[in-house]
Amino acid sequence: MSSPSETPPVVAHHPALRHHFDTMATQKDSSLLGMWVFIAQEIMFFGGMLAAYAIYRNLYYDAFAAGSHHLDVKLGTINTAVLICSSLTMALGVHAAALGKRKATVLFLLLTIALGSVFLGIKVVEYADKFHHDLVPGPRYSAESLHGPHGEPLTADVALHSQLFFALYFGLTGLHALHMIIGVPIIAIMAWKAGHGRFGPAYYTPVEITGLYWHFVDIVWIFLFPLLYLIPHHA
């Protein structure tokens, strides 16, 4: 380890180097590690609700299947595809940033924002449908629009428990959507900064950790989609 108290470096510090770090490498490593630890935290955060989901789904399988079958698999699939595309554009954005391609970075980040917005837009359509059918848990909840595997109306207790499905549906997808709503403006800031030349091959850590965050949000959806939308219906 070279001692920093030797003659001060001739090279000027990178403008993005914060005072308490010695090198850009440490600063970057710290940010990346910080994001990974944050992601570990996020796993547990979703995990708490996932545990509730797993248990109630096993206890009230029919109710969960009935609830799941009201969800629109087509929209869900489209949204999954949209999110995967946005993950790709995000990865390409980071890639471009690493190579110092300014225009490409901005373009890919903007594409990511657009795809993220499409996802959220479709989510709004889906939520609106639940409101329309009184499937929002709470005093107005009604399972009237749900039906059993053969189109028959639900028995009273299955109807009762279907509310749990929707509570967890809104909880999990709501939490996920919240993460996206936080993510989009952050990507927008990144795009703005990239456009103003703040990043270069020597320093694009913010883009990179934003990417990590966005990919994680994608992964959450990869699990939520089959769990919520694709509960099979054979007894």
Binding site: S3, L33, V37, M44, F45
Partner: protein, 561 residues
């Protein structure tokens, strides 16, 4: 002493080393340090210096401790007599709930990590600051917002669910401010998470050259283990209280048996965090004590690597025992057996620590100054508290003991007798470093002794009460328990005095205390090699570590600045 840095003077105050430079009696100008570098409210509220943030926290948690202490005082006053004649039952229930919530979430969990940890970790590892200074400040603001929510709930009528928020009582029957309190805890959780994240990254990435893991101070090891729990446990309590708040507000059914919800599921989720959380409260105190015993007996800790690794072992195993709070809840018998078995295992690393601390004293050069008195008190009381934990981990015995005063005594022994003693010991030990002033030693010893005796009188009788069958959270109680309750209340008033003393003389010392040298204890460690109080960026150059921490006696110093 191999590597060297230029103009910085040799660390002084070490036996055989250069004599400490004479401090001019009338300093023309105090050297610039983190305290006098700037003045004004803004310079504090917008600071990103980890040392100043530590002081912000120290101030806030002291306020919280006082609030929690006032609740405790009222509880003990009420329990002087069997009939509930001082306050109404509703009020009593709010008292212990708010006492528990404030003490656990807003005092003890942030206590050592956010104050001493924040202050010392960067210094101990030779860094200029934590890895994310602005995030650190944000953590404090989040903490304040959470506290404001909870305070709002308390002022506008309080909350009466017990600090455990068991459903369906909290979600469907309590008509107090469950939602606001829940939000307060939810928000506060993120403060804890971000602090832990900051520590982890700092410890991994910012260590001085030469400071390998096996040279790391044990205080830092303990905080690494604590951070692990903070980061991986706290999110679960956050979603859980979040769900409780939603359920209370909207009646979704998640925890409502009438709608198919399951109350036991809540308990699983709650304790999944709240058991590890008890180790958030004790591990940092263990870290402090590891420093104190070596510093005050001028001897390297006995079995360094065992003490270091046991912290991690406690943190990891601590995640796997949550069900020992639910032995009679209706949890499956099979699971009860598993949780009990692992609870016994988690006692082993704690035992290892206790024995190593004790062995460190052997042939030491032991000073009985205040920090050491607190450290000795910690070891003794933690041992009792921990051993009574074994009573509770014992399935058949816990059936009788659960939800009685035995539990209350157990956890106060560890949290008040252990964690708070550790905190106070650490505060005294590093006070000269933090403020640049000495506290009055005699008063310090007096307060340590008062705390020790007051504490035992307060909570010792509660073990007997518990085995007799006195249930906890009882406003009215059968008259035969009165004598023991009176003893406990008498002890509490002594204890209160013991806590008030440091409050007074620390405040005094901040202004009038004699100036402290850089290393008043003649201890080893990076923090003692920089001036007291330290300059803003802690070190003038980059410190380089050439030897293990705590090498007393060998003239091979640990560090060169």
């Amino acid at each position: 002493m191999s590597t060297h840095a230029g103009e910085v003077p040799e660390p002084y105050g070490r036996p055989g080393g250069p004599p400490p430079p004479e401090r001019p009696t009338l300093p023309v100008r105090e050297p610039v340090n983190y305290l006098n570098v700037s003045y004004g409210t803004k310079s504090w509220l917008l600071t990103v210096d980890h040392k100043r943030i530590a002081l912000l926290y120290m101030f806030s948690i002291t306020v919280m401790f006082a609030i929690g202490g006032i609740f405790a005082t009222l509880i003990r006053l009420e329990l002087l007599t069997p009939p509930g004649d001082m306050v109404q039952s509703e009020t009593y229930n709010k008292l212990f709930t708010m006492h528990g919530v404030v003490m656990v979430f807003f005092f003890l969990i942030p206590s050592i990590p956010a104050t001493l940890g924040n202050f010392l970790i960067p210094i101990m590892i030779g860094a200029k600051d934590l890895a994310f200074p602005r995030l650190n400040l944000l953590s404090w603001y989040i903490y304040i917002v959470g506290a404001v929510f909870t305070m709002y709930a308390m002022i506008s009528g309080g909350v009466d669910t017990g600090w455990t928020f068991y459903v369906p009582y909290s979600t469907h029957y309590s008509n107090t401010h469950v939602i606001a309190t829940g939000l307060g805890i939810f928000i506060n959780g993120f403060s804890s998470i971000l602090t832990g994240l900051n520590f982890i990254v700092t410890i991994h990435k910012m260590r001085a050259p030469g400071l390998t893991w096996w040279r790391l101070p044990l205080f830092v090891w303990a905080h690494y283990a604590t951070s692990l729990i903070m980061v991986l446990g706290t999110p679960v309590i956050a979603v859980t209280v979040g769900m409780v708040a939603l359920e209370s507000g909207l009646h979704l059914g998640i925890f409502d048996p009438a709608l198919g919800g399951d109350p036991i599921l809540f308990q699983h989720l709650f304790w999944f965090y709240s058991h590890p959380a008890v180790y958030i409260m004790i591990l940092p105190a263990m870290g402090v004590v590891s420093e104190l015993v070596q510093g005050m007996s001028r001897k390297r800790i006995f079995g360094y690597s065992f003490v270091a690794i046991s912290s991690l072992a406690i943190a990891m195993l601590g995640f796997l025992v949550w069900g020992h709070h639910m032995f009679v809840s209706g949890q499956s018998t099979y699971l009860g057996l598993v949780f009990s078995g692992i609870s016994f295992l988690v006692a082993i690393p704690s035992a290892v620590k206790v024995f190593n601390w004790t062995a460190t004293l052997y042939k030491g050069s032991i000073s009985l100054d205040t920090p050491m008195l607190y450290a000795l008190g910690f070891i003794g009381l933690f041992t009792i508290g921990g051993l009574t934990g074994l009573f509770l981990a014992s399935l058949g015995l816990d059936v009788h003991l659960t939800d009685t005063y035995f539990i209350v005594a157990h956890f106060h022994y560890i949290m008040v007798g252990g964690a708070i003693m550790g905190y106070l010991g650490g505060l005294h030990y590093w006070w000269p470093k933090i403020t640049g002033r000495l506290y009055p030693e005699t008063w310090g010893r007096v307060s340590a002794i008062i705390v020790f005796f007051g504490f035992n009188l307060t909570f010792g009788p509660q073990f007997i009460l518990g085995y007799l069958g006195m249930p906890r959270r009882y406003h009215y109680y059968p008259p035969e328990f009165q004598i023991l309750h009176v003893m406990s209340s008498a002890g509490a008033s002594i204890l209160a005095l013991g806590y008030l003393l440091p409050l007074v003389y620390f405040t005094w010392s901040m202004r009038y205390g004699p100036r402290a040298s850089a290393n008043p204890w003649d201890a080893r460690g990076l923090e003692w090699e920089i001036p007291s109080p330290p300059p803003t960026e802690n070190f003038v150059g980059q410190p380089v570590v050439t030897d293990r921490t705590y090498e007393y006696g060998s003239e091979e110093g640990t560090t060169v600045v």
